[in-house]
Subunit: 196 residues, 2 copies
């Protein structure tokens, strides 16, 4: 094996979800499909690397700043949905159920990782939420201990902003079977039961 | 999400072992670590794409042709190890137990996929095995039906080459527990038992 192959495999092995074995498989596949895969991948990577920037309003990634979502005038200016990461923003966009704006925190509060409020985009959220057109802030952090702690901290910071603060519903996922659900989810679903 | 990000994710999702979800995660990770990951990856991919070629002797990938293994004079010229894919060659090299030369078939015989002997590098193997210095051909194809069929076909083709033909031993893998082994492996290990 040569050094350039070795270092390519080492680089791929560093990516999330890949290890040395899957990186080797991937690199071999790329080299075997040079025209159809390797060259397009290099070109798209180069192009993305040069054009992608972070939106200074919400923290999303786009080729324009402010991003396409923030500059979309058809969206509902009264709602801001707060998410931990850009991937969460994408997930909510895929659901096509939300027409407001987003705010990407860039992580969660974590004593273990030494991440305090000043490392997250919380100050800019308070500023945005203070604008008169904003009526509701939806806290869509993950249903983990850190996510919920962060949501609680943010709700505390937004107290003086004169906005409604809401969070995502907890309950049984679509297609979920009761027998396979954890007790926490089942308890939350029972507690939050609605009239039929 | 922008088109260049979309197409980058679509390209990564085509790679073996990755799907749309892991591709999204990977692309986000790359963009967040532009200096440390994305740019080195692009450079190494470019460099590899330009320099890597297939060795015309054994079928290995290298920046030189013949490859470093084929041109290594300290290796044992009497042995040729036949493997299905380059990944198998690398695996045997990592074991550091073989000091002969390799021959990459580029696949296995498969009626289902319509792959016959002419699609594999078998002719060149017969030519190489006919050389006077070659004493043994080790058939290191996978222990699958196709791998074993291919090995059988090759052994038949090498009959007139005046070489010893061997195959890898079947048996219990190192650290393997009898209770978890399939019956085929256990039977093969029992049949191939050796004196203690």
């Amino acid at each position: 094996m040569t050094t350039s192959l070795d270092s390519l495999i080492a680089l791929f092995a560093k990516l999330p979800g890949l290890g040395p074995r899957s990186a080797r498989r991937l690199v071999l596949h790329l080299i075997r499909n040079k025209e159809k895969l390797l060259n397009p991948l290099v070109n798209t990577l180069l192009q993305t690397s040069e054009t992608i920037r972070t939106c200074h309003v919400c923290g999303n990634l786009d080729i324009v700043d402010p991003c396409n979502i923030c500059s979309d005038t058809r969206r509902d200016h009264s709602q801001i949905c707060v998410v931990e990461e850009i991937a969460d923003l994408w997930a909510i966009e895929r659901s096509k159920m939300f027409r407001g704006f987003y705010h990407v925190l860039g992580g969660v509060l974590s004593a273990l990782d030494g991440r305090g409020p000043e490392q997250l985009n919380i100050e800019s959220l308070v500023t945005r939420a203070s604008a008169p057109e904003v009526a509701e802030v939806i806290l869509a952090t993950n249903a983990t201990v850190e996510g919920q702690t962060t949501a609680y901290y943010i709700s505390d910071r937004l107290v003086d902003c004169n906005v409604k603060i809401s969070r995502l519903a907890h309950g049984i996922p679509m297609g979920g079977e009761l027998d396979y659900l954890d007790d926490g989810t089942l308890g939350a679903a029972l507690k939050a039961r609605v009239n039929y």
